[in-house]
């Protein structure tokens, strides 16, 4: 029995000692190969923001913490040339969670000057919607007039695009050409007060006519401080097939301008601007008169909007606190067709003070005043005070 116990102990301890020797950390680690990343990469980036909005018009004041917006961007790098990108947007609005697919497209680098992409993508109509609208990039908590809901500038489309850039030995030229399903027209059957408006969410084309558009951007100086761009967007048909609006066409164009430069001993000056114009062919719409009888009318369906923004960061200040501040001012206006049911003119001034926590996170404090004549809410003056916190990741 004793011999058996001794034998078990020898085997037990011997096994442990052997095991410890075999699993020697130093020996093992020196044999391990260095980490080698794969060519395929999956990455989640994106942004989010939250804050407080206090908006007062002539007869009422509304103050509310606005729900957090969360916009994850999924990047799948299949190879050095092939990339898939998609952005979801989760927004709390009107006691509901709204979920949207901002874009989802696949891109392939054909050569050093040319990339093709297909799917739903942000349209390079000017630069604001494609490059500047994310909360951590937009220097103010709100969009300029003419963008977003009921805006005249298209933000995204489903189709194909060819884009790229050329180095001209100092100056640079970038271009984009695309074809999408194009917009559809609101004929007034659902919302009579919006008859003649373009609706750019055209996930399934309502006719066989595609929209064509493009942008050319020129950076004339070698320091890339200045960019001027011209964009167009055109379609032959915006109405549904076999409807009376089938052959109504639309032509939109935009000019954009950007100047960003660091001045030694002063700081960074950032100027942005964009002018949008939208012209839809004349068409006949129907409205009900005061007795409820249908009445036909038409109008010159041309709209335009403009914004310009100036911001300044005293990055050369000796104070660490001042270095992180940014002063912003923005002017924007929007003119809807004079004789449309949704006619109106708006003018807006916005002023902001930002504090940059990091290069991708900032706190924005802003005051905004908007004067309107006509429009959905009948016009008047609306003042807003905003405190927002935005973060990119």
């Amino acid at each position: 029995m004793k011999k058996l116990i001794i034998l078990i102990l020898i085997i037990g301890f011997g096994h442990t000692i052997y095991g410890q020797n075999y699993n020697d950390f130093d020996t093992d680690s020196t044999k391990t190969e260095a980490f080698k990343p794969s060519k395929s990469q999956f990455m989640i980036r994106g942004y989010g923001h939250t804050g407080l909005n206090s908006v007062s018009s002539d007869d009422e004041t509304e103050s509310s913490y606005v729900g957090s917006a969360f916009a994850p961007i999924f990047l799948f790098k299949h190879s050095d040339r092939l990339l898939f990108e998609a952005e979801l947007e989760f927004v709390l609005e009107g006691n509901e969670l709204e979920v949207g697919l901002e874009y989802a497209n696949v891109m392939y680098v054909l050569n050093k000057n040319m990339t093709v992409r297909a799917g739903k993508f942000l349209l390079p109509f000017g630069t604001f919607m494609e490059r500047l609208h994310p909360a951590w990039i937009n220097r103010l908590p709100t969009k300029p007039l003419g963008f977003g809901h009921d805006g005249i500038a298209p933000s995204s489309g489903i189709g194909v695009e060819l884009r790229g850039a050329f180095d001209l030995g100092g100056p640079k030229l970038n271009y984009s050409l695309y074809s999408t399903n194009g917009p559809r027209i609101k004929d007034g059957s659902v919302e009579p007060e919006e008859a003649g408006m373009l609706q750019f969410q055209n996930y399934e084309d309502n006719n066989n006519s595609k929209a064509f558009g493009g942008r050319i951007g020129l950076l004339p100086f070698a320091d890339s401080s200045t960019e001027i761009g011209f964009s167009t967007y055109s379609t032959n048909k915006v109405g549904a097939t076999d409807s009376q609006y089938e052959n109504v066409g639309a032509f939109l164009y935009a000019f954009d301008f950007a100047f960003v430069k660091q001045f030694s001993g002063f700081g960074v000056i950032d100027i942005k601007g964009q002018y949008n114009n939208s012209k839809v062919d004349d068409a006949t719409y129907t409205e009900l008169d005061e007795f409820g009888n249908p009445e036909e009318y038409t109008f010159n369906n041309e709209s335009n909007s403009f914004y310009t923004q100036l911001s300044y960061r005293p990055t050369t200040s000796e104070s660490d606190f001042m270095k992180k501040l940014e002063f912003v001012g923005r002017y924007s206006n929007y003119n809807a067709p004079a004789d449309a049911e949704w006619s109106g003119e708006s003018e807006q001034y916005a002023f902001g003070l930002n504090y940059w926590l990091t290069w991708r996170s900032l706190i924005k404090v802003a005051y905004q005043t908007t004067d309107s004549v006509g429009g959905h809410d009948g016009g008047g003056t609306t003042n807003g005070f905003f405190v927002h916190w935005a973060i990119g990741f």
Binding site: L83, K112, N113, S224, W359
Partner: protein
């Protein structure tokens, strides 16, 4: 409007053909460091391009926030989204990888 649409389509087609011809006519597939071509020619550094190109839209990112592999994915994404030239993104990516 139809005339404008036709002009735009023709113009876009010509522009696309021009872009294809110009981009395909170059035999150089990848950006070659300037020192290999003309040693005396002064070129911008990746750090300088990082400051100029990124700041056109947002503040220039900190190199330390991502590793080399992440910068490759972000570089490809930004090259397309911001319409950067191959030379710009090659130099910027090299700088970010060297400084993180």
């Amino acid at each position: 409007m139809k005339t404008i649409h036709k002009i735009l389509i023709k113009g876009s087609t010509l522009l696309a053909i021009a872009a294809i011809v110009v981009s395909c006519s170059s035999t150089k597939d990848t950006y070659v460091n300037a020192t290999e071509v003309e040693e005396f020619k002064m070129e911008k550094s990746g750090a300088q391009m990082w400051g100029e190109a990124c700041n056109r839209c947002h503040l220039a990112p900190s190199p330390a926030d991502y590793n080399d592999t992440d910068w490759e994915t972000i570089g490809l994404h930004m090259r397309i989204r911001a319409n950067l030239t191959e030379k710009e993104i090659t130099k910027i990516e090299a700088f970010l990888k060297s400084a993180n």
